[in-house]
């Protein structure tokens, strides 16, 4: 739900940007990147991106639109596994940004995927920490209500890798369809803890408390991005991928908490 609203807000903001083009001088202009300026990029660009990219790509989309007047970036944020499946089924996407190499490989249509970021896991608990969670080992405590992502979703697979390192068996009460649904359940206080990405904890602000997992216990996942063979807007797709991989893109991703590729 939140994601849909977020997307709607991003679209509304995009519409406002386009509508107010004549007098908009207040937008943070990151400057035209040399690769894209004058390349005649225009029209809608449809980006299928992992749910954990909701905030950072939302920002990148707005900056891209400001740098390339005449373009609108439309996002579909969901679990990478779900996105890979819908692209395989023929969903009209220009760009796919996945939260794991596994899901990128499922899309045979992807042209030359490039890793643009890395992410690690973190424990999210409600601000009052009702389960008194302090470390990963606490998640195996009986009676503690834990939400995880499903195993086929990157955040679920990476969380399992963390548990495997510690030889822990965590019995969750529910398996979220994507990382944001796990985060929502933590925010609502319906679970005592959820294992999400470091970037999700940062994006949630004060609504959840993050408990960092020490590097030697943690696991990471890499984010590849690629244009798609059947892209309706190939020029726009290439420009957007270039923007994500540019220094401007890296700045936004680093601010959101992602590690470099």
């Amino acid at each position: 739900m939140k994601r849909i609203l977020g997307t709607a807000a991003a679209l509304a903001a995009a519409a406002a940007l386009v509508a107010g083009c004549g007098d908009s001088t207040d937008t943070a202009s990151p400057g035209l990147s040399p690769s894209a300026s004058g390349s005649g990029v225009s029209g809608p660009i449809t980006v299928f991106a992992a749910a954990s990219l909701t905030e950072s790509f939302g920002t990148l989309g707005k900056q891209f639109e400001a740098a390339h007047p005449g373009t609108t970036v439309r996002f579909n944020f969901a679990a990478s596994s779900a996105l890979a499946q819908s692209i395989t089924q023929g969903a009209p996407a220009d760009v796919f940004a996945s939260a794991s190499a596994t899901n990128m490989k499922q899309v045979t249509d992807a042209i030359d995927p490039k890793t643009f970021a890395n992410n690690v896991m973190e424990i999210a608990v409600p601000p009052d920490n009702p389960g008194r969670v302090a470390a990963v080992a606490d998640l195996a405590r009986p009676g503690l209500k834990v939400a995880l992502c499903q195993a086929q979703v990157p955040c679920g697979a990476t969380a399992q890798a963390v548990f495997a390192k510690q030889r822990l068996t965590v019995k969750p009460v529910t398996l979220g369809a994507d990382v944001k649904s796990v985060l929502t359940q933590v925010q609502l206080g319906e679970v005592d803890a959820g294992v999400v990405y470091k970037t999700d904890v940062r994006a949630a602000g004060s609504k959840v408390t993050g408990i960092e997992i020490p590097a030697d216990q943690n696991a990471s996942t890499s984010y590849p991005i690629a244009t798609l063979k059947a892209a309706p807007n190939p020029a726009g797709a290439a420009a957007f991928v270039a923007y994500v991989l540019s220094a401007d893109g890296e700045k936004v991703l680093t601010a959101a908490g992602f590690a470099g590729p």
Binding site: S81, Q150, G176, A177, Q185, G189, E190
Partner: protein
């Protein structure tokens, strides 16, 4: 005189389009079914778990709906009080409310931090979300109005003279309800219960929101289908076939008894009467 069996083309052509539209997806499901791997796909233990959970929770949701929904229908149809039409609109709201919204609302009411749920948690240590009970509640919330609407319609259409006769003979309202009213509207109650059960069986949005998803505990068939589609489309088709078979079985076995007898032989089934 023209034969009346020939449909004029302005009606026949759209009707054919409607038939094709309704049946084509089902044909697609059957045509694309992985028949050869079907046994191995369906022997996965999570399939049995999901099917059992779906059947049990839908039946419990129907039982709860009968227990409190039939009395509610009676109150709406037989007791006059101010604000009755507003109340009727409110309790049938889940008919038109998107189920996901129902799930969110259930969280806010019965969740661990919810309006009522926080006291259940504090006083009794009871938390409802992510349990099979949450599945039953979500299904009941979405499905009960179907039963209420069906039964209330039947009560309004029932001839009041029988109840009046019962009353003049000295029967109390409760006895009259038990011995006269209930037998009279029995077929409509059954029809409503079947609709309610079918709606509960197919429930997805409120369930995944309020009860979450965990194999064997809260993962019902529709949720299993949806999630299987992300990883193994063949498994999703196999699961869909099972649900299709269950639905067909119910429809065929109850068709005569419900769709026709549900009228009490009078004015058509309640959902048609509306």
């Amino acid at each position: 005189m023209r034969r009346r069996s020939a449909a004029p083309w302005p009606l026949a052509v759209p009707a054919l389009i409607a038939i094709a539209f309704l049946l084509l997806p089902l044909v697609g499901l059957v045509a694309r079914a992985p028949w050869r791997t079907l046994p191995s796909l369906l022997s996965d233990p999570t399939v049995g778990q999901a099917l059992r959970l779906s059947l049990v929770t839908a039946t419990l949701a129907t039982a709860v709906s009968l227990l409190v929904g039939v009395p509610l229908a009676w109150v709406l149809a037989r007791v006059r009080f101010p604000g009755r039409s507003v109340l009727r609109a409110l309790v049938t709201l889940p008919l038109v409310l998107p189920p996901v919204v129902g799930g969110v609302a259930l969280f806010l009411a019965l969740g661990r931090r919810g309006l009522v749920g926080q006291y259940l948690d504090r006083w009794f240590g009871l938390t409802i979300p992510f349990t099979p009970a949450a599945v039953v509640l979500a299904e009941t919330f979405v499905a009960m109005p179907f039963l209420v609407v069906a039964v209330e319609g039947a009560l309004r259409a029932a001839d009041p003279r029988f109840e009046e006769a019962s009353a003049t003979l000295g029967a109390s309202r409760w006895t009259t309800f038990r011995r006269v009213t209930l037998p009279m509207i029995g077929p409509s109650v059954l029809a409503g219960a079947v609709l309610c059960w079918a709606r509960a069986l197919g429930e997805f949005g409120a369930t995944i929101t309020f009860a979450g998803n965990f194999p064997g505990r809260t993962q019902t068939m529709p949720i299993a289908v949806y999630l299987a589609l992300e990883t193994d489309p063949d498994a999703a088709i196999a699961l869909s076939l099972v649900l299709l078979a269950v639905s067909l079985l119910i429809l065929v076995s109850l068709r005569d008894r419900v769709l026709r007898a549900g009228t009490g032989g009078r004015a058509g089934p309640p959902w048609r009467r509306a």
